[in-house]
């Protein structure tokens, strides 16, 4: 059967199909599988049975049922997640990402597009270019897809009309002119009946172009990655014995050969390639896409996360950069909040320092924004926890891409595409003062740290902190207190109490606390600080052992009863918005250094517990 001869020469093509609801994506993919005879008899028997139960095509087999995989979505008649399908023709092997067209699933489309090199954009011939068509095209463009097929589907329902086809194609090309596509190929098809999918249609004598499959078989999407600058993200250090030390990874771009002079991009250490090791023997040369193990001529410090590059073609190294961001988490992105970034094989804390603009995916207009919600796209400035070699996503879809992960839920929260470095880390000199933190601390005989009191309003944070500070002061320890009174009226007086402002408030407090610690002082910070992420951020600003989280755990009923400033009464009356415990959440610490259950204790007793903890840490008080 010639149909199933293995395709051996042309590279596998990964593409995605996108379109709005009911444009017929699943039917098209079902058709591709059916036409390439990949539907086995037992599978066909199963969907024939299902067609009667869930199908929408009357007595015909509903081809969409071939691909709508999960039980939940079959019942709803929609596709809720990215599915990957495989088929082969005599000319090529294909992987199709089937991605949903609903607005709330921009996330899934971006996921499918990230690994695709071509997009088939479906347009319903009866409806023409829709808002969703624009959105999908923009996302494809953003994710670096340069080859587009415009499949004008359901052409049978407009009587195979040439003018309708031409008008839709004209509309699309006009709109897409600013999206940077390299090639747009329009094909009139009927996925349901098969016209121009894999066999030329007899219903459209006016159309002389290729069928969809013919085009997909022949399109050349090679990115010539091998001639780009050499980038080798080190994935794993292979040390099976003392005589071998190799750096395993997959070449992201370019070519490498023994003898090449290479440099560790971030550290600047140089060496030469000694060997390219594989299980099948050493290679004389290796290029983009190959998974190899490199050894170097010198003992150079190289670890997972480092990138080896040619000395002659080094990327800029920066800890601040600009990038497009697609937000994918239910919990909105807030500037200043700390996330984990994975770029290449580096994991590093990272935060968005500002949102330059949000992009309206329907109109492509740019708007100001203070946060990004699920499925929103923004262009932002980033600050990473360490200097990173920066390639733009346009230059390199491997080294220029990153994800953000929520530090608490570990959910993948966003996908990012690097645009450019903002300032090179090599230009910021971290001046080496001869007087450093240790010297200052020694001068005042202190062990600097931050005591971070967190808890509800009225829980007794400041009261306890005051007693602790008095005791420390009496013992000759140099201290300073930070609380709402001395922060909110000055440093942070431009901030309110929205979630975004609370995050920024704590970020500033954290930075100030860090400076005090640097100056050798013990800081007592009393802030509601309701979010775990921000407390974690402050903890990360400081060295191990310098952050002592004290959870002042007072039942909210007691806080309301005390209500020292009358705030709960106002919040309940609706006069104050976003009040923690009333209409804004408090996330209790999961592992505080000290958990003070204040119910039934006096403030003095609680303060003593804190002092006890300090003595245990070697602070005389």
């Amino acid at each position: 059967m010639t149909h199933h001869r293995a395709p051996d020469h042309r590279e596998l093509l990964r593409f995605i199909t996108c379109g709005s609801v009911d444009d017929g994506k699943s039917t098209l993919i079902g058709r591709l599988l059916y036409d390439s005879q990949l539907i086995f008899e037992d599978t066909l028997a199963a969907i024939t049975k299902d067609s009667r139960k869930h199908g929408t095509t009357g007595d015909d087999i509903d081809l969409a049922l071939l691909v709508d995989g999960l039980e939940a979505e079959r019942q709803q008649g929609i596709t809720i997640d990215v599915a990957y399908r495989f088929f082969q023709t005599p000319g090529r092997a294909f992987i199709v990402a089937d991605t949903p067209g609903h607005e709330q699933y921009t996330r899934n489309m971006a996921t499918g597009a990230s690994s695709a090199s071509l997009a088939v954009i479906l347009i319903d011939a009866r409806k023409g270019v829709l808002t969703q068509t624009r959105r999908h095209s923009y996302i494809c463009s953003l994710l670096g897809i340069r080859d587009i097929v415009v499949a004008v589907n359901k052409i049978d329902l407009v009587n195979f009309d040439e003018d309708t086809f031409d008008r839709i194609v004209g509309d699309y090309v006009t709109f897409a002119s600013e999206l940077g596509f390299r090639c747009i190929v329009p094909v009139p098809i009927s996925a349901r009946f098969g016209d121009n999918v894999s066999t030329p249609s007899g219903n459209m004598p006016w159309y002389h172009g290729p069928t969809l499959i013919q085009h997909l078989e022949h399109v050349d999407v090679a990115q010539d990655l091998a001639v780009r600058p050499f980038r080798f993200p080190v994935q794993w250090v292979n040390r099976p014995n003392l005589d071998f030390r190799g750096f395993a990874g997959t070449i992201a771009s370019g070519r490498v050969a023994p003898g090449d002079q290479v440099v560790v991009a971030a550290s600047g250490k140089t060496s030469r390639i000694a060997r390219i090791v594989t299980a099948d023997g050493d290679l004389p040369v290796a290029e983009a896409g190959q998974a190899v193990t490199l050894t170097l001529e010198d003992e150079v410090d190289v670890a997972r996360g480092d990138i080896l590059v040619h000395t002659a073609d080094r990327p800029p190294v920066a800890d601040q950069f600009a990038a497009h961001l697609i937000w994918m988490d239910e919990e909105a992105m807030l500037p200043g909040r700390s996330y984990l970034m994975r770029i290449g094989n580096i994991w590093t804390p990272c935060s968005i320092t500002s949102i330059r603009h949000r992009v309206d995916v329907n109109t492509l207009e740019e708007h100001a924004a203070r946060r990004l919600s699920l499925n929103e796209i923004g262009f932002c400035n980033f600050s990473a926890g360490q200097p990173i070699p920066i390639d733009s996503y346009e230059d390199n879809r491997t080294t220029g891409a990153f994800i953000l992960v929520d530090r608490f839920t570990n959910r993948t929260a966003a996908a990012g595409m690097v645009a450019y470095p903002l300032r090179r880390a090599s230009n910021i000199h971290h001046e080496h003062f001869t007087v450093d933190k240790a010297a200052r601390a020694a001068l005042v005989g202190n062990k600097p740290m931050v005591l971070w009191f967190t808890g509800l309003s009225g829980s007794g944070k400041s009261t306890i902190a005051n007693i602790v500070e008095q005791a420390l002061h009496r013992a000759g320890r140099q201290t300073y207190s930070l609380d709402g009174d001395n922060i909110r009226h000055g440093l942070c007086r431009d901030l309110g109490f929205t979630a975004a402002d609370r995050v920024e408030n704590i970020r500033r407090v954290g930075e100030v606390a860090k400076l005090f610690v640097d100056a050798g002082v013990i800081v007592l910070a009393s802030f509601i600080s309701p979010f775990r992420a921000e407390r974690r951020m402050v903890r990360d600003l400081l060295a191990e052992g310098e952050f002592l989280e004290v959870f002042v755990d007072t039942p909210i009923e007691d806080c309301i009863k005390r209500d020292p400033k009358g705030l709960y009464a106002k919040a309940k009356a609706g006069e104050i918005k976003n009040f923690t415990g009333i209409d804004s959440p408090y996330e209790p610490p999961e592992a505080p250094e000290l958990h003070l259950l204040t119910a039934g204790s006096t403030a003095e007793e609680s303060a003593n517990a804190v002092l006890e903890q300090l003595r245990a840490r070697g602070i005389a008080c």
Partner: protein
């Protein structure tokens, strides 16, 4: 296994799949505290094991193999498993669910559904918990079955190994999210993007050893539910009037022998198997009795913790 000087280079397509899988396998070794590779002895496991050996050459894979033994595997599978462990020098862990044995669970009296649930799914979870593995490789492919087509390469499992298809992490580029907390784990599928064709083409290209059951041979079988069941030992009760007959058969997938249907075939070499497969009219899972139990049965099993 690495003497390949006479071997023809892989096609660009297979070379690309191989490189992708090696990248995935290395990622697990680099990112997890205690990974394990599920080894189910079949062709997919065989390819996965070979890729792991390649990924860490000249060293050895830094994780053990785990076989969840239901005690109903073909005898030739067990012999092959032990041979491969010895040949690779990797540690082989074998686990059988003791509760299942105590309860007398077996595929014949208990039914395929309960047998699979207890001996495979529960057995697997026991083994993972016992050793505290935080990542487990499986040889599943996306082309096998519809709910597999939406599976991630790094598939997150909550406490108790639960799989929630609606709460999967988006997976972009090759930037896998490997972060988990205590009690959570990741199932990793390095062969996600391989098809059945690719697997056999690769076995041929790399000349990988395979369980002889994949090759046609005269074997004692009985006809049941439209398929041939091999009488591998005397535990298979014969129905009245049923007599094993010798037939030239082979298996497209391997599992517990009373649940694995054979097909009549004359293919005794790899090229013949490939030719036969390319002309096949039924999917490989047809021979697996466990999938046809009920609609969406795979999704259900996966939610419960099946691989």
């Amino acid at each position: 296994m690495q003497s390949t000087s006479t071997k023809a280079p892989l096609t660009p397509h297979l070379a690309r799949l191989e490189a992708e899988s090696i990248g995935i396998i290395r990622e697990v070794a680099a990112s997890f505290r205690k990974p394990v590779m599920l080894y189910s002895i079949g062709k997919d496991s065989g390819v996965m094991l070979h890729l792991a050996l390649k990924a860490f050459a000249p060293g050895k894979p830094p994780f053990p193999l785990l076989h969840v033994d239901t005690t109903w595997k073909f005898r030739e599978m067990i012999a092959f498993r032990n041979m491969m462990a010895e040949r690779t020098g990797m540690e082989l862990l074998v686990h059988t669910n003791p509760d299942g044995i105590a309860r007398g669970i077996n595929p014949i009296d208990s039914g395929s559904s309960l047998h699979t649930q207890v001996m495979k799914t529960e057995g697997l979870k026991q083994a993972l918990d016992k050793h505290g593995f935080d990542a487990a490789f499986g040889g599943a492919r996306r082309d096998e079955e519809k709910s597999r087509a939406k599976e991630r390469i790094f598939s997150f499992r909550g406490p108790g190994h639960s799989w929630d298809p609606r709460a999967q992490r988006p997976e972009l580029w090759s930037l896998f999210n490997t972060r988990i907390r205590d009690g959570e784990s990741i199932r990793v599928f390095p062969l996600s993007n391989w098809t059945e064709y690719d697997v056999w083409d690769y076995i041929l290209a790399e000349d990988l050893p395979m369980v002889p059951l994949y090759f046609a041979k005269m074997r004692p079988v009985v006809r049941r539910s439209g398929t041939w069941i091999m009488v591998d030992d005397d535990r298979l009760p014969l129905e009245p009037g049923e007599t094993p007959e010798m037939r030239m058969v082979r298996f497209r997938t391997l599992g517990c022998y009373p649940l694995s249907g054979a097909v009549e075939s004359t293919a005794t070499t790899l090229p013949e198997i490939i030719t036969e497969m390319r002309a096949a009219k039924t999917s490989e899972r047809e021979g697996r009795l466990i999938d046809s139990d009920e609609e969406a049965s795979m999704e259900k099993k996966k939610r419960e913790g099946y691989f």
